[in-house]
Amino acid sequence: AQSVTQLDSQVPVFEEAPVELRCNYSSSVSVYLFWYVQYPNQGLQLLLKYLSGSTLVESINGFEAEFNKSQTSFHLRKPSVHISDTAEYFCAVGPGAGSYQLTFGKGTKLSVIP
């Protein structure tokens, strides 16, 4: 069975400040890890993914996440946030061997304060 825990339901941060959104996962098989972003009244957009190889993955808009197998974590970071980053962020695990589903955390609402 797979599960995802997002440790913070809401994160307020001032514009141009750094941010970290925390994600821990549980899986009995090799994992694929994802961060999705959801803007108000929209669907999910893939932000970045870890499949294999380098444990540090980056997105085109300045976010990065690091896969830490020993701590079963996949925290999302950005060194300087913008107003436009205000959204809800979901961490997900899977699909894995024998399973085709994504398992999501409950989400973290990032609010960027001007």
């Binding site: 999705y36 994504l102 989400g107």
Partner: protein, 113 residues
Amino acid sequence: DAGVTQSPTHLIKTRGQQVTLRCSPKSGHDTVSWYQQALGQGPQFIFQYYEEEERQRGNFPDRFSGHQFPNYSSELNVNALLLGDSALYLCASSSRLEAYEQYFGPGTRLTVT
């Protein structure tokens, strides 16, 4: 290149009624998954369709059923609607070559009164 499309955008139904939601996958994709996102929650996997058959099902009752057509589009049907079925229903598509990467549509907001 069209992404995943869903219809309708919004829907209001009464308890006990039945509803059908529709999804067209991204061009080149042959697999469709459905997720339910209740308010304030992360998406929950309902089921996945591949080659016109249900390949995997999440923890949802039989009131939730689906179908995939030869052109890979899909429908989600919910019978005997309950108030608790009110949610955003998301469709995601993927290809069998990159099954791990799912692209989501904008969703259908279902309200049951």
